[in-house]
């Protein structure tokens, strides 16, 4: 009884607070939030997104599924989410099994999930959802103020973790976050400017005649590009500099970037105009994509092998085995003769550990490090393949992990 009474009281408080906020939120959004307080950049971005959504009046009505074992809480959430600007269709369920059945039968955009539930808890639901519906946005709305659950939820790839207790204070902010998640498309591109390639970003910087230093990251790889008065004057990445570095950077398909203050005193190593460089790179990418002649393919394979061998030696690894998922191509290896044997072992280890992780709800596998008498091994799984990297004994574990990650990213790029 007391549980329902508490939920009922929270319900009244949250709805009252939210209605009050709705009245205040007609104030134009600048650098302050709906309460007139200074916003963090992320909050400002979210509010900006919502304003944009308001302006364009989204045409598609996304569906939101709310999962909670408390019927009163489901009613509260429904009442709160129905008036969202994108006018989503709200569905509610009270058990994990029903939620999964519904997700199988209809497409949903967003799942709002409680954690503490009978039979199947929220983390179990999220683990299954992550595997079966990778495109579904997920939000945890929980009453558990425990850092462990927050970490475990984020480890399962949820987009947002929100405490039920915080709803009372920040209802509008929560709704804005949901609206932002509903509107966000799952496109490739560089974070910050979705669906724009790095070429677009550089062109924009150059056309606006700006001076800046672009710091670009792709996993453990980083690069810098110096732009002065709209011209690319220098670039460096992976031990290369100048035009070679530009070509290598432009081959990256996704990543993150940030603008750093300009460095006018930087020595100029690139003389070619940026349009010529971009054109050359685009041609190279097109040619490599359309290359059909056997000879050029053989040359390409040879060049790649030499380059990968160079990578292996530079990082100091003994061998690398790249193991595609079952039935998706043959394993590839450098530095070892036992390719098939090592590939089979890697596949087995990845499979056994992946199943164990699902069973004990430990989240996705990050990596496996192993030590033997005469070598150290590191297994790095990814969506399409796993990598086994062999190292001499004695190197520090952290160092091996960093070097292996670098090697794998370069290997696949």
């Amino acid at each position: 009884m007391s549980h329902h009474w508490t939920t009922g009281l929270l319900f009244v408080q949250i709805v009252a607070k939210w209605r009050q906020e709705k009245l205040i939120s007609t104030v134009p959004i600048g650098n302050t939030d709906c309460f007139g307080e200074t916003m963090l950049p992320l909050q400002a971005e979210i509010c900006g997104t919502v304003a944009a959504v308001d302006a364009t009046e989204m045409e598609t009505h996304h569906k939101i599924l709310i999962l909670d074992d408390d019927a009163d809480w489901l009613d509260l959430c429904r009442e709160l989410l129905v008036p969202l600007p994108s006018k989503p269709e709200i569905r509610t369920v009270s058990s994990g099994a029903r939620a999964l059945a519904l997700l199988e039968s209809e497409p949903f955009r967003l799942l709002v999930c409680d954690l503490k539930m009978p039979r199947m808890d929220g983390l179990q639901v999220l683990a299954i959802v992550r595997r079966r519906f990778p495109g579904l946005r997920t939000v945890v709305l929980s009453g558990l103020e425990d850092e462990e659950f927050r970490s475990r939820a984020y480890a399962l790839g949820v987009d947002l973790f929100w405490l039920k207790a915080d709803m009372q204070q920040n209802t509008q902010m929560f709704l804005d976050c949901l609206e932002s998640l509903l509107g966000r498309e799952v496109d490739g591109g560089f974070r910050g400017i979705q669906s724009k390639s790095l070429m677009d970003i550089i062109q924009m910087e150059c056309l606006s005649r700006s001076s800046t230093v672009l710091r670009i990251s792709r996993g453990p790889l980083t690069a810098k590009m110096w732009i002065q008065d709209g011209e690319v004057i220098d670039a460096e990445t992976e031990g290369t500099r100048g035009e070679t570095a530009v070509r290598r950077i432009l081959a990256w398909k996704s990543g993150t970037f940030e603008s750093l203050p300009a460095e006018p005193s930087r020595e100029r190593t690139i003389i070619k105009p940026i349009n010529a460089l971009l054109l050359e790179s685009a041609q190279t990418i097109d040619e490599s994509a359309n290359a059909t002649e056997l000879e050029s393919m053989e040359q390409d394979v040879h060049r790649k092998t030499v380059w990968k061998l160079g990578l292996l030696m530079r990082e100091g690894a003994e061998f690398v085995v790249s193991v595609p998922l079952d039935g998706q191509g043959a394993p590839e290896a450098l530095g070892t003769q036992s390719t098939e044997q090592l590939a089979d072992w890697t596949r087995q280890v990845a499979e056994v550990i992946k199943r164990l992780g699902e069973r004990i709800e430990a989240g996705p596998l990050s990596h496996v490090a192993a030590k033997g008498a005469d070598r150290q091994l590191l297994i790095l799984p990814s969506e399409r393949k796993s990598f086994l990297v062999g190292w001499p004994p004695g190197d520090a574990a952290d160092e091996i992990l960093e070097k292996s990650k670098r090697l794998v990213v370069s290997w696949d790029s």
């Binding site: 983390l123 462990e148 072992w345 280890v349 164990l356 992780g357 004990i360 030590k371």
Partner: protein, 101 residues
């Protein structure tokens, strides 16, 4: 038994992650454990058996291992080989928890 479930239902709860250490013999039986008794024994046994299996498979691939460190997003399992058996340390990984060495 079914009617009891209908009467009392099942309690809302979340499966906790295990913390502590276990020692397993070569037959996959837990010899000692410091993991809370609240944690389901079958899951603990599954961890131990999978670790033993990995050591065994590495041996049969002619790559005998002495130590295995499995990093999940929210749990780390470190295992040392003990003459066919194994000693396993289990640490939940949270953003606030210090990383064990």
């Amino acid at each position: 038994m079914g009617f009891l479930k209908k009467l009392f239902g099942s309690r809302a709860a979340i499966q906790q992650l295990p913390t502590g250490s276990i020692t397993m013999d070569r037959d996959g039986q837990i010899v000692t454990s410091t993991v809370s008794s609240m944690y389901p024994q079958p899951l603990l046994q599954a961890i131990g058996r999978d670790v033993l299996r990995l050591f065994r498979e590495a041996r049969s691939t002619e790559m005998p291992l002495t130590e295995l460190d499995i990093h999940f997003a929210s749990l780390r399992i470190t295992a040392r080989e003990l003459r066919g058996g194994t000693l396993i340390f289990i640490f939940p990984q949270t953003t606030l928890a210090p990383t064990p060495t």
